[in-house]
């Protein structure tokens, strides 16, 4: 069944997860991502070897995922901003114990309970770890239905390859919107690489231990450096970004997810009136695609970061550029989604204020 299907973003993640071999899902309801939990309930029931649990809390759900990952399953949990905060302890444990798992955050307006509108306020939490301790989480930011399908597959592969938690960072709009999607063929679970570290009964072999309590400081230090070497490998291997009309651009907008789509609409308008504006859309938020950014700074003097927040990714852009180009910011927090018209006015003003039409 490789037909194009019109599907809601949350359902796309669910179907793509099942096709990626996800056989364990635990979650606790929260808007605007309940459709994913709903989808997994149905999908896991249809599978012979699928397990779906509506847990008693977000904490319980993420800890169930820890257990499933230890036992070798491709496991997933999902929530929205306030619920993801609750899962952070578990994500820290996943990272510490080098367990693969996929966590979906369908961001909503915050802080606190906030609202249920699309937002990007959880960038810091997602990319800086979120939980306690010295660790990183791979963070992927899809911007369309098709990309949700492709990225969900990748998320499970990255999680297994690097034995680390992977977060898919979407928002209420990505989750609710329907777009045509073509899914990859389902993976054959038997063909996945073996996991020689899982806890599946020690009969006939020495026991294995998976733990994060390392009281001996030198052992813990070794473990931290081991994680760092892994993170450096990830940083070399997976950064990804989409470039749109950047080759001759004098101003490049940097935006991810829903914000990037709004930005593209605005950039199209600017191009129509002759302004040389392009888009850089990070697809991996951690690791951040620094190399692409630096490369672009050779001809782009001005970057405008647009986020549905008060400014979080803008710090990574500044860090990545290390002063090579000027960084400007425009953001709308609290669940407000700008229109392309609104953003094109911002771009237009900046373009002329910096006298970029004269160059």
């Amino acid at each position: 069944m490789n037909d194009k299907m019109l599907m809601r973003g949350s359902h796309v993640i669910g179907e793509a997860a099942v096709r990626a071999g996800c056989r364990f899902y635990a979650g606790y309801p929260i808007t605007p991502q309940n459709e994913l939990t709903e989808y997994m309930a149905g999908a896991m029931a249809r599978l012979e070897d699928g397990t779906f649990i509506q847990a008693e809390s977000e904490l319980a759900a993420v800890n169930m995922v820890i257990g499933a990952a230890m036992a070798g399953a491709r496991a997933m949990t999902s929530s929205s901003s306030p619920g993801v905060s609750l899962k952070q302890e578990g994500i820290s444990y996943l990272a510490a114990q080098e367990l693969p798992a996929v966590i979906v955050n369908t961001m909503r307006g915050g802080p606190g309970l906030g609202n249920i509108a699309p937002s990007q306020g959880d960038y810091f939490q997602a990319t800086r770890g979120g939980g306690h301790g010295d660790y990183r989480t791979i963070v992927l930011a899809p911007a369309s239905g098709q990309e949700l399908a492709d990225i969900t597959r990748k998320a499970f592969d990255y999680a297994d390859t690097y034995r680390t938690p992977v977060m898919i960072l979407g928002d209420g709009m990505i989750g609710q919107m329907m777009e045509p999607v073509v899914f990859p063929e389902p993976l054959d679970l038997k063909k996945l690489p073996p996991k020689p570290w899982i806890l599946d009964g020690a009969k006939g072999r020495p026991s294995r231990i998976i733990r994060s309590l390392l009281l001996d400081v030198s052992v813990e230090e070794d473990q931290n450096w081991k994680l760092v070497r892994k993170y450096e490998q990830i940083t070399r291997e997976i950064p990804a970004a989409e470039k749109y009309l950047t080759d001759d651009a004098r101003l490049v907008v940097v935006a991810y997810g829903t914000a990037a789509r709004i930005a593209k609409g605005a950039i199209k308008r600017m191009r129509d009136i002759g302004l040389k504006v392009g888009l850089l859309r990070p697809i991996t938020l951690w690791p951040f695609p620094n190399r692409i950014l630096v490369e672009m700074s050779r001809w782009v003097r001005h970057f405008l970061v647009y986020e549905m927040s008060t400014g979080q990714m803008v710090e990574d852009v500044r860090l990545g550029l290390e002063g090579r180009s000027q960084v400007h910011f425009y953001g709308r927090p609290g669940g407000v989604v700008s229109t392309p018209e609104e953003l094109s006015k911002v771009i237009n003003t900046l373009y002329h204020r910096q006298n970029l039409q004269e160059e």
Binding site: K4, L6, T31, P32, I116, A117, G172, M173, Q176, M177, M178, E179, P180, R261, I262, K264, G265, K268, V337, T339, P340, E341
Partner: protein, 183 residues
Amino acid sequence: MTKKTIFAGFGGQGVLMMGYVLAVSAMRDGKNVTYLPSYGAEVRGGTANCTVVVSDEEIFSPVASSPEYAVIMNKPSLARYESMIKEGGVIVLNSSLIETNPSRTDLTVLRVPANDMAKELGSDRTINMIMLGAFVQQTGITTLDSIMNGLGEIVKGKKPAVMELNRKGLDKGAEFVLRGASQ
């Protein structure tokens, strides 16, 4: 060509279904589409709306800040969306529930007495399909055949009577526009 349409009305009037049928049909025509439902703490009898974008090109924003078309099912929705519609756009009104006319003079206004027409068909459940049939016939955003196919795909597995009733609604809406055009 990119066309944005907003469908709006009371929850329960089949507003989301109209948009969904259009989106599936246009996708099968080979177009790019996005379908964005309103979501929130909304209940039956509250307001509901969805935005469908149909395009030959990549669709950027799924939000219709200034849609070319609007299908308006009730009075509060007219008040809310009238000012947003693009200059020279088309507005299809359910005139059974909306006596007033838009105050804007640059819009093409099509008044469809959908509730009354549905009574003639013997089922309130055809109101949305009557509106959709009229909308498609008026704008040519896709063909009635495509809509029928899209609908067939969506209601697949349901009772044949359901499909038949919906089909009648679509036809009736389209005929209403054709008759008006020939007059």
